[in-house]
């Protein structure tokens, strides 16, 4: 599905915002002002932007953990100050600062992050089943990496979604590495989408550094699922051009990919650089407009940081925490 100019512009703005916010997150964690950890997005954010930009607000979305969903969220229109505040352990965090990095936005149909790789598949089946059960045309999208895909839960979720023709989109961000383990060391094939295809699902491979290719893939997958044709699998080949995470304990310095290679990737395969060239070339944006977009994004980030920073640290008492374990019998949803 070819993108309109407007769609390209939207993607471009969202990628600029996402990458700016990712840098903001990095600044904050490096300054020791985040309570948990953060997994840098870097040049890996094109898929998340594509997904977030084209889903409807009422479509369920489980982002890939990398960059903690920032690309998906900012593109879907989620409130970012409360997301940052959550990471900073503040009372105005979306989970009252009580979750570390476990943000959640039920109203935006993004029900939260968790640490366990392999969780997203069952959840996506649940979301898409619920849509079918209620008779709506909502779709559910879940994104995950090649490391996560090694968990048998991937196969279980794909099997169910395919068997029951659920409106689920499985979006695989395949960079061939999981933390410090190369995919080729522990997994037999390069294209993970082969598994989905074997399970009877339409699949597509896309360049995850190409923002507009990702956008087209997202549109196609969403359209397929929305029309009731069942699940769809997209495999985005993307790059991680930095360490696994910040705030982790990797002290060995024994990285499986060289610093030079990663620098080269940042130079040559940065999705924003590539998109900038293309949009200038196609005459969709001028250099001036681009600078404005960048400037706006930076202002946005500053405002977000400022807002989050004003919120007090979340320090609920043990008694308060003990009283908050169970939902009361009658609950006002998303109160």
């Amino acid at each position: 599905m070819a993108l309109t100019k407007k769609q390209k512009k939207l993607l471009y703005i969202n990628l600029t915002r996402a990458m700016t916010l990712d840098r903001m997150m990095m600044r904050i964690i490096r300054a020791g002002r985040m309570t948990g950890f953060y997994h840098e997005g870097g040049v890996s954010l094109a898929p998340g932007v594509a997904i977030g930009s084209f889903l409807r607000k009422d479509d369920c979305l489980g982002p890939h953990y990398r960059a903690h969903g920032i690309a998906e969220m900012v593109s879907k229109g989620v409130d970012i100050p409360s997301y940052l505040a959550e990471h900073m352990g503040r009372e105005d965090g979306c989970c009252k600062g009580r979750s570390s990095y476990h943000w959640s936005y039920p109203d935006d149909k993004m029900y939260g992050a968790g640490a366990n790789l392999g969780m997203p598949y069952g959840l996506a089946c649940g979301y898409s089943f619920a849509a079918k059960y209620k008779g709506t045309d909502q779709v559910a999208l879940t994104a995950f990496g090649d490391g996560s895909f090694q968990e048998g839960r991937s196969y279980e979720g794909l099997s169910m979604a395919s068997a029951w023709k659920l409106p689920a989109i499985f979006w695989c961000n395949n960079n061939g590495i999981a933390q410090h383990t190369e995919l080729s060391n522990v997994y037999p094939i390069e294209d993970l989408s082969r598994v989905a295809a074997a399970l009877g699902m339409p699949t597509m491979i896309v360049d995850g550094q190409d923002l507009f290719a990702c956008g087209e893939a997202a549109l196609k997958a969403i359209d397929h699922a929305r029309k009731g044709k069942g699940p769809f699998f997209v495999e985005a080949k993307y790059l991680r051009a930095q360490e696994h995470n910040v705030g982790g304990l990797n002290t060995s310095g024994d990285v499986p990919r060289s610093q030079e290679l990663m620098e080269k990737w940042k130079e040559e395969r940065d999705p924003l650089k590539l998109a900038t060239l293309q949009l200038l070339d196609e005459g969709i944006l001028t250099q001036k407009e681009i600078e404005k977009i960048q400037k706006d994004a930076e202002d946005e980030a500053d405002k977000i940081e400022e807002a989050a920073d004003q919120s007090p640290k979340a320090l609920p008492s043990i008694e308060e925490l003990l009283a908050a374990v169970y939902a009361p019998d009658t609950v006002v949803e998303n109160a």
Partner: protein, 323 residues
């Protein structure tokens, strides 16, 4: 007044399903072989509610639990049947960590109503995988509610409470009691989670127990009636646990035996004993005693007759604390 009719555990649960499914469209059943029915509690439900609301799951427990969490987040109220409760260990992360924690960790804002169902218990001689009663492990993971009925009456009432509850609830029932009968009134009722039930009053010693073992405890109480007056407290709900009722009972009897079919070490009985230590020390005239599955994996075979708490072992314990 007409006599109260008798139903089996399976029939009682079946009725709870029907009533709750009729009054809430979002309730649906999803489980391993529930359509044709490995156990009879789901008999007839496919016909009554159709394929949309009665689904055989794939044989993939981890996905079952992840699916249920997603469906619940989206407003449905899944009842997830693992056939044997021990099969849910494939979903330990999903159930004990992620679903149990979901509400609390995410700021106590968005409830996830789910019922997990599974049979368990020693007695069918098939060993630990089918016998493991799960509740000892479950209560070590805050955020789950857990219950286990000893009668068809409680089974129906607890199941209705579980389905209406806004939290994940693990509903356990005993494999050897599936076809056991008991009175169940026609009128609607609920047995709230978190309320213990004094199944027999007594003055000398309290037995706290649940599930099948309530009947062993009652048998012992009967045997001993001319010698020792035994009060039998049925916990019914393991979490939330009704400590108040237990303390009230022990205040009267000053002695406590906990009968728990689960593995002894770091289980439900250990927790109650520790709670008595902390909150009931001055009430006690003798140390609390546990009668549990001994600390080895349930082997099955002919050993089933004596590895679970037997009336003999319970009686010994009662006599010991009354010495």
């Amino acid at each position: 007044m007409s006599e109260v009719r008798e139903l089996t555990f399976s029939e009682a649960i079946n009725e709870a399903y029907i009533e709750e499914m009729q009054c809430d469209e979002n309730v649906f059943l999803f489980g391993e072989c529930i359509r044709a029915g490995t156990f009879p509690h789901t008999a007839g439900l496919l016909k009554k509610f159709g394929e949309k609301r009665v689904l055989d799951s794939p044989i993939a427990e981890a996905n079952m639990a992840g699916f249920a969490l997603g469906a619940a987040q989206e407003g449905l109220r899944p009842v997830v049947d693992f056939m044997y409760a021990g099969f849910s260990y494939y979903a330990a992360t999903e159930i004990f960590l992620n679903t149990a924690s979901y509400y609390h960790v995410h700021g106590s804002q968005h409830p996830v109503p789910i019922v997990y169902v599974g049979t368990c218990g020693v007695g069918r001689r098939v060993g630990y995988e089918h016998a493991t009663p799960v509740y000892g492990t479950a209560i070590h993971h805050p955020g789950l509610k857990v219950c286990m009925p000893s009668t068809p009456y409680d089974a129906k009432g607890l199941m209705k409470a579980a389905i209406r509850d806004n939290n994940p609830v693990f509903f356990l029932w005993h494999t050897t009691m599936v076809a056991q009968k008991g009175p169940v009134p026609e009128e609607e009722y609920i047995v709230p989670l978190g309320l213990a039930d004094v199944k027999r009053e007594g003055t000398d010693v309290t037995i706290l127990t649940l599930g099948l073992q309530v009947h062993n405890a009652l048998a012992v109480a009967e045997t001993l009636q001319d010698e020792i007056s035994v009060e039998v407290v049925d916990a019914r709900s393991v979490e939330p646990f009704d400590l108040e009722t237990l303390l009230k009972s022990v205040e009267k009897t000053t002695r406590l035996v906990i009968v728990d079919e689960d593995i002894e070490r770091a289980g439900f009985a250990a927790e109650i004993s520790a709670l008595m230590m902390e909150q009931g020390y001055d009430l006690l005239d003798a140390p609390v005693k546990r009668v549990c599955h001994p600390n080895f994996p349930s082997p099955g075979g002919y050993m089933d007759a004596y590895t679970m708490p037997t009336p003999e072992r319970i009686e010994d314990a009662v006599r010991e604390v009354c010495r």
